[in-house]
């Protein structure tokens, strides 16, 4: 399993930015965050004590359409619960998140964006961290496909997803809550519970579940938990940014 790779603060103009690549799903996303910014069209009575979150998803090789509005809605709802929009300096200002799909296949008409969703979520999170937007927690997400034999496949390609029985995207907070679930296809609840367990293992590792032989096996299959990968990316950046300070100390 090739771990996704990410880089923080890749852009000059934006307050925060991140680039994220996931080789297994073939997605390559560039994200930027501008926050807090004045929103010109904003009106007073609309949530005056909170920040307004705007998410814009720009497909790589097609004009944005109805599908993008939908996935923007998903991202916005999730990020809205994570961003502390009432911290000082944020109320009635905007947090503008722009995500450009700069690599990989385009999403077809009516396709649910599920495969790209974890990559979009991770890019948004890293860009928010890079812009130092206050967050109540971080999260990690993954996409899983279940084929007809009941096999769970992690981060399927677009073709695999098309032939799968069901596709699931799950996001977990850094505190272990299930933040997001998007499942579609045809499945029963037992299948979903297996998927949830596997997804939790991918995101957090299996330490939480039990300490028996399963741990080692799951580690083998899924490698390092995603959360750790994300954390490391951020830590690397912090070290780089505060190099002068750390060295001086």
């Amino acid at each position: 399993m090739v771990a996704p790779s990410a880089t923080l603060s890749v852009l000059n103009r934006a307050d925060g930015s991140a680039s994220y690549q996931c080789s297994s799903t073939g997605s390559n996303i560039l994200g930027s965050v501008n926050a807090p910014v004045e929103l010109p069209g904003r009106r007073d009575a609309l949530k005056p004590e909170d920040a307004t979150i705007e998410v814009f998803v720009k497909p790589g090789t097609a004009p944005a359409g109805v599908g993008e509005r939908y996935v923007e809605g998903i991202l916005k709802t999730l990020l809205g619960r994570v961003i502390l929009g009432r911290e000082k300096g944020y109320p009635r200002r905007g947090v503008v998140i722009t995500l450009a799909i700069i690599g990989g296949e385009s999403v077809g008409r009516g396709d649910p964006y599920l495969i790209l969703l974890p990559a979009l979520l991770h890019t948004a999170l890293l860009a928010l961290l890079s812009a130092s937007v206050p967050l109540s927690m971080t999260f990690s997400a993954t996409v899983l496909a279940v084929d007809e034999s009941g096999q769970i496949r992690r981060e399927p390609s677009a073709e695999d997803a098309a032939t799968a029985q069901s596709v699931h995207v799950l996001a977990f907070s850094s505190k272990g809550h299930l933040l997001l679930n998007e499942s579609q296809g045809s499945f029963d609840f037992d299948t979903w519970e297996k998927v949830r367990q596997r997804a939790s293992a991918i995101c957090h590792g299996t330490q939480l579940v039990s300490a028996d032989g399963d741990v080692a096996m799951a580690e083998d299959v899924d490698g390092r938990p995603l959360e750790g990968t994300l954390r490391e990316t951020v830590e690397d950046q912090v070290y780089r940014d505060y190099n002068w300070k750390i060295n001086a100390a």
Binding site: V66, K175, L180, S186, F189
Partner: protein, 383 residues
């Protein structure tokens, strides 16, 4: 919950209280003081897991191939299905086959048990289903009539399209207009067709001349929350009502011609009956979500939950939320379930906007959605 009780001595009629302190108003209904001996009900008088009364009515619109009006409480969705023809000669990619996929895909097009239809993706590839939902109907204040679809309308349209595709509700075979190429050779047409003999798109001299394209337009006439359930039910009812005329290729006129005889028209044979149930989560603590307190992690959460089950309830999962409740909750769950051979099959399960709902809650909701499936099935079958 002394903190969220209305300030002392200020008396307000319920309507004003509902407007000024919506959160406290709903909370007061859901957790009445123990002394009052009142049941915990929502402000609209429903039980938490209770759906609004639903009615459906089909076939009342003259200029449609199928239509339905579905009312879920005060939310009303009107859906009209209009079928138009897409001649294959108009499809740019029709004469194009992909060498890699062609071998896999386009083989058995005459097979009628369309569950095994390998060309099912034609619906998606050729845009044969075109659902659009409109909220610019004056259905609620705040939607400007005549304005382009709002983000909400766009994502509802997209969700409906996504669900039509993922459930494969409509069979591609129902939408094809076939032509049996005359087997006698010699005439000019035949040459062209003979060239095509090796193709996979036709079989035994049969060839697709056109597709029906279904324009599925949903007008939300009245919006009082939970537009998706009503819209989807309307789409489902309208598609069940849809009749396509018998159509054939008229070689003389070189066009597809239809029969107007009702007896010859066929109904769509839909796959299953997926039914949507939406829920929202109402938190007792109005500030949960934004107060900069430390959010308990999942393990702590479970403990708190256990402790509080005995005492005060912290949150309620409300089925089929009305507009008022939707405005007061952030976390949403949408379930689409079907029944296959007595077993509940989940077709879509979405949850977003919070951390209250996890496996245990979802399991309960699936059961509620299955009950909803039964009741809505009866309603749809009677209309």
């Amino acid at each position: 919950m002394a903190s969220s009780a209305p300030p002392p001595a200020l008396t307000l009629p319920p309507s004003q209280f509902a407007r000024l302190q919506p959160h406290a108003y709903l909370l007061a209904h859901l957790s009445p003081p123990a002394a009052s001996n009142q049941p915990s009900l929502r402000a609209n008088g429903r039980q938490p897991a209770q759906f609004r009364p639903t009615s459906a009515n089909t076939g009342s619109l003259t200029h449609t191939n199928g239509s339905a009006v579905v009312r879920v409480g005060d939310t009303t969705a009107v859906c009209g299905v209009r079928a138009e023809l897409l001649p294959t000669s108009d499809i740019a990619s029709w004469s194009v086959s992909h060498a890699s996929s062609g071998a896999k895909h386009r083989q058995n097009t005459t097979k009628n048990d369309a569950d095994a239809d390998a060309d099912e993706s034609q619906i998606q590839d050729l845009n044969l289903l075109v659902p659009n939902l409109s909220l610019s109907t004056g259905c609620a204040p705040g939607f400007v009539p005549g304005a382009p679809p709002s983000a909400l309308a766009q994502s509802l349209s997209h969700q409906i399209l996504g669900l039509l595709h993922s459930t494969r509700l409509v069979r591609a075979e129902d939408l094809r207009v076939w032509y049996q190429v005359p087997s006698f050779g010699g005439d000019g047409d035949m040459d062209v067709d003979a060239d095509d003999e090796g193709q996979k798109k036709k079989n035994d001299g049969k060839e697709i001349k056109a597709f029906w394209v279904l324009y599925i337009d949903i007008m939300i006439i009245s919006l009082a929350g939970n537009a998706f359930d009503a819209a989807w039910a309307a789409v489902l009812a309208a598609l069940r009502d849809t009749r396509l005329p018998r159509a054939w290729w008229d070689a003389d006129n070189e066009m597809v011609v239809c029969s107007e005889t009702v007896a010859e028209a066929t109904r769509l044979s839909l796959r299953g009956l997926p039914i949507a149930s939406s829920f929202c989560v109402f938190e007792a603590d109005a500030a949960a979500g934004w107060r900069a307190v430390i959010v308990p992690d999942a393990e702590e959460e479970k403990k708190i939950e256990e402790d509080q089950r005995r005492g005060m309830q912290r949150r309620w999962i409300l089925a089929d939320p009305d507009g008022y409740e939707e405005g007061l909750s952030q976390e949403r769950v949408c379930l689409v379930v079907d029944r296959e051979m007595g077993k509940t099959v989940i077709v879509k399960m979405e949850k977003n906007g919070g951390w209250a709902v996890d496996g245990r809650e979802l399991k309960q909701l699936v059961d509620i959605a299955a009950e909803r499936w039964e009741s809505l099935k009866l309603i749809l079958e009677q209309c």
